[in-house]
């Protein structure tokens, strides 16, 4: 019995299979019986009789067959997947050039996305892990508005209010609070600045956080101010400062002049609660807040006007957010009645903790910035993907004959699409893995780029599970995305025309690659948007450098000195600061030294209320609120800030003599228009102290580069008691050396002086340049990346179209066409696409430029240099990318071209 097999053996329905098999059996048996002489009807009956219980046997066989089929289907699928995978790797190995380009461009695109996402994840998404976070709420006290400024519902509260919230409401199972403090850790030999948080004793238990080692605070430590100097160390501080030594628990450390017993270590995930990235060195009970208070003032814990406490609470079981809000409204009303002065116009407000990432005030901006960055890197990835889609389309056209053949041989379109997609998803995942390396590197570079401020930022931007999932997700989606269109197009079942040699046609060449053209246009448009953004920020950076700061100092050293009120009296501090100034002046190579309470263009800025006789304050205000600084005699000289009228401070402006001030040009113009302010009087509101204006200083930027010059008052450092000063020194030796010398001198003068911050003037000025610089770097890198990718895409498209049209070129050339004309023809097609993309990109950018306008310095949103320069550069680069393959078209040998196909 030699059977012949039919093609297409596949029988997907096992039940039907068994039924037909049994029917065939009966037929054959009946046939045999008929040959033995039985009539057909009887033969069939006999055959069924011999077969037996049909229902039972057929049912049993069908069950077996179905079970087998299910098993087979899964193993078939797995086999097919392995086969697709092997095929994908084989094909990738066969074209290493494409594979390399694909993986590298995906790695760049995915890496950029992963890096930015890790940042967003660290800042906005992943917070401190807390028990049952859905029950947690943030409580705020509102800030009443003024006629000029609207109020703000989510401001900080006072400690007495926290106690009231805990004791006079029953909607919370726990109310806890915290506030940041700054102090110093003293050992026998060193003094280090310390950042920490004063926390209510129950903060950790309300949030449901367990200590890494030791314990958190207990109720007893949260009752009476100043009685329990205990401390819980931050994990990183514990590691860095004590090498993770567990025996530190039980020992004492000296903090701001008091001995604290270390009782525990916080877990690594709990860096602090104030803001993400602020890695707190330690936590102490709230009751120690007054003892630690930097200004040396006391009673902070009992004052209803000293607002600095953040409050978190856990809703009592069964209490909804609305019920809690109602209870807060009741308590708010009671507080307004009981404490009319402190509470006028205020109320408690509540937000579920899940809705707050950093703080309601900054969340909006942080989220907008995050969205902006994610869009930028998303666009880069989009360019990379469209690029690869373009390459694949070209390759798909090459494989069209192979695919058509396989379709004709019975392969289903789905199986081919699946095979092609497997290849691109594998590319995507490989690109994703390489992207992780890129992201890791980029994050390290970013984290090394510490913003120039005094607080150590330590964002945990590790590649955690969320980030890995994100990366894998976008890698797979990218693979599907750039693979789907080519896979669908190349398996379109229009067999007949494809099996003929389709590449010889003279017409239709343009139409057939319309998808590729759309891709090129998209890429050019995206590159245009990103590059215009980069251009604007570069111009802004340039503009920022050209902004007239008012003062001319460029280089020098700067230290920020302070001391603690309970150790160094104000008068003594002033004396010590002057001693440091004197010593600094004698450092070889240092020429000029001055003091200022705050440094302009830093993060600090202060204003106070003044009365100016004869000058009406702004409507609705009782006083003039004017920015001020307290500076030493040589400040104007050191900073390079000219005195335009009157005189600078002199030795005669001492304590005990008449109080004097200098004012800025803008202040002079605004308060005494057309007159000289010299000799006029201004009065400090509150204290009523009178000052005489002795001079006018040139206008200078006080807080930001972008600000308009504002009225500014300079007090004499010698007449103003403050326990804080900046020493500014310039000289002929390198800046960094000046900084080191200043620190040394300060230590020598008195070890009780705390150096809060030490840096060069260049670094200090860099703070103000930070935003435009970051903008220019980020957009420049991403825009450049997009341009490179887009040009590779354009090159590929033109090269492909030239190779397809070899025959056409041959004919044109043999008919006497000029080689230059052929090149021109090809270029015209390519540059047409570039033009369309560029125009789309320009139009999009006009809108986006308005959105970033507020971040730009000294340059309009429609800066002509950018909006002309960038398109010219882009066009030039695109022209080169198109020209190289186009020139190949003109070198076609007509004879070979015509014969070849």
């Amino acid at each position: 019995m030699k059977p012949t097999f039919r093609a297409g053996n596949f029988q997907p329905d096992p039940e039907r299979d068994v039924r037909e098999e049994i029917e065939a059996h009966i037929e054959m048996e009946a046939e045999t019986l008929m040959k033995q002489g039985l009539p057909e009807h009887e033969a069939r009956e006999e055959a069924w009789r011999r077969f037996g219980d049909r229902d039972r046997f057929q049912g049993a066989a069908q069950r077996e067959a179905s079970a087998r089929e299910r098993k087979v289907r899964w193993s078939d699928r797995f086999d097919a997947f392995l086969r697709d995978l092997r095929y994908a790797f084989r094909r990738m190995a066969k074209s290493p050039g494409f594979t390399g380009i694909a993986i590298v461009s995906l790695a760049l695109g995915i890496g950029a996305n992963t890096a930015i996402f890790s940042l967003v994840n660290a800042v906005l998404l992943s917070g401190v892990p807390m028990r049952a976070p859905q029950e947690l709420v943030e409580l705020y006290t509102s800030e009443p508005g003024t006629p000029e400024e609207p109020g703000y519902p989510y401001s900080v509260s006072t400690y007495p209010d926290l106690v009231d919230l805990r004791e006079q409401t029953d909607v919370f199972s726990g109310v806890a609070g915290y506030e940041a403090f700054f102090s110093r850790l003293e050992t026998e030999t060193t003094t280090e600045p310390i950042w920490g948080e004063c926390v209510s004793w129950n903060l950790f238990s309300v949030l449901g956080i367990d200590p890494e080692a030791g314990r958190f605070f207990v109720s007893e430590e949260g009752q009476t101010p100043g009685t329990h100097p205990v401390s819980v160390l931050g994990y990183d501080f514990w590691q860095k400062r004590y090498g993770g030594d567990p025996s530190i628990i039980g020992q004492t450390i000296r903090l701001g002049g008091l001995q604290y017993t270390v009782v525990g270590v916080a877990p690594k995930e709990v860096q602090g609660f104030t803001a993400p990235g602020f890695n707190m060195d330690m936590f102490v009970p709230m009751m120690m807040a007054d003892a630690l208070n930097f200004e040396g003032t006391s009673n902070h814990l009992s004052q209803r006007t000293s607002r600095s406490t953040f409050i978190k609470a856990r809703l009592a079981p069964g209490i909804t957010v609305d019920q809690a809000r109602a209870a807060l409204a009741t308590l708010s009303a009671r507080q307004r009645e009981a404490y009319p002065e402190a509470w006028e116009g205020r109320e408690f407000n509540l937000l579920p903790t899940g809705e707050v990432a950093i703080h309601p005030l900054v969340d909006r901006y942080a989220r907008a910035l995050a969205a902006f960055l994610l869009i930028v890197v998303g666009l880069v990835l989009l360019v990379a993907c469209t690029n690869l889609a373009g390459f694949l389309l070209a390759r798909a056209s090459d494989r069209k004959k192979e695919i058509a053949l396989r379709l004709a041989l019975g392969a289903t379109r789905w199986s081919l699409v699946r095979q092609l997609l497997t290849e691109t998803v594998v590319l995507g995942v490989l690109g994703g893995l390489a992207g992780l390396l890129v992201a890791n590197w980029a994050l390290q570079a970013m984290m090394a780029f510490q913003p120039p401020i005094a607080i150590p930022i330590n964002l945990d931007v590790g590649l955690d599970g969320t980030v890995l999932l994100f990366t894998l997700g976008i890698a797979a989606v990218a693979g599907l995305f750039f693979g789907l269109a080519p896979a669908l197009q190349s398996t379109k079942p229009d067999l007949a025309p494809t099996l003929k040699d389709e590449s010889t046609g003279l017409s239709g060449a343009q139409k057939r690659f319309s998808l590729r053209n759309v891709l090129v246009v998209t890429q050019v448009a995206i590159s245009m948007v990103l590059l215009l953004g980069a251009g604007l920020f570069l111009r802004s950076l340039q503009g920022a450098h050209e902004i007239d700061l008012g003062f001319t100092i460029q280089e020098g050293g700067l230290i920020w000195l302070s001391a603690f009120g309970d150790e160094v009296e104000e008068a003594e501090f002033i004396y010590l600061a002057e001693a440091v100034e004197e010593r600094a002046r004698s450092i070889p190579g240092v020429e000029k030294v001055a003091q200022a309470e705050i440094m302009p263009l830093g993060l600090a800025f202060q204003m106070s209320d003044w009365n100016i006789p004869g000058v009406e304050p702004p409507s609705g205000e009782e006083n003039h609120e004017i920015a001020y600084n307290s500076v030493s005699r040589d400040y104007f000289d050191v900073m390079g800030l000219p005195i335009v009228a009157g005189r600078p401070f002199g030795p005669e402006d001492d304590q005990g003599t008449e109080l004097v001030v200098l004012v800025s040009e803008t202040a002079a113009r605004q308060y005494w228009p057309g007159e000289s302010p010299v000799g006029r009087e201004i009065i400090r509101a509150g204290s009523g102290t009178s000052y005489q204006v002795v001079g006018v200083a040139k206008d200078a930027k006080a807080w930001t580069l972008g600000e308009e010059y504002r009225p500014y008052i300079y007090l004499s450092k010698e007449q103003d008691d403050e326990q804080m000063t900046h020493l500014i020194a310039t000289g002929s030796i390198p800046e960094a050396q000046i900084v080191a010398e200043l620190q040394r001198v300060a230590r020598e003068v008195d070890p009780r002086l705390v150096v809060m911050e030490a840096k060069t003037i260049s670094d200090h000025l860099a703070i103000a340049l930070f935003p435009p610089k970051m903008g220019a770097i980020l957009l420049g890198v991403f825009g450049g990346l997009a341009l490179i990718l887009a040009c590779t895409g354009l090159y590929g498209t033109v090269a492909f179209s030239v190779s397809r049209r070899t025959r056409e070129m041959g004919i044109r050339l043999s008919l006497g066409a000029d080689a230059g004309k052929v090149v021109f023809m090809v270029l015209r097609g390519a540059m047409g696409l570039v033009l369309i993309g560029a125009v789309i990109g320009l139009v999009l950018s006009l809108g986006l430029a308005q959105a970033v306008k507020q971040f730009l310095y000294g340059v309009g949103a429609l800066d002509p240099v950018t909006f002309i320069g960038v398109p010219v550069i882009l066009a030039a680069v695109a022209l080169v990318a198109a020209f190289v393959p186009a020139r190949r078209a003109s070198r076609v040998d007509p004879v070979r071209a015509l014969r070849s196909e």
Binding site: P3, T4, F5, A24, M28, R50, F57, A61, K71
Partner: protein, 109 residues
Amino acid sequence: MAGDLFTGTLELLILRTLVDDLVHGYGIARSIREKTGGVLDVEQGALYPALHRLNRRGFLKGEWGETETGRRARFYSLTKKGRAALAMETARWDEHAKAVYAVLRQVEG
């Protein structure tokens, strides 16, 4: 004949029938009937659950084909696994048969 013993026997016979040929279900039934001289002429339908069970366990593979007379039928053949099973089960059957035979002889004697 008793069910369990018979099921095992039937499967063994099916495997044996397929040792050197591709056979369809009806052919297997006929072959068993002829080779056993009609002694084991059971209900033919019992063959099919057995065939599909063997198929599921990977001892057989079945493929649709055409008979010499042009009829469509499913042809079975042994897989490698099936051959190994046949060899093992044959040996076990031998032992089994010898043991049973020995007992029967004692009773007789």
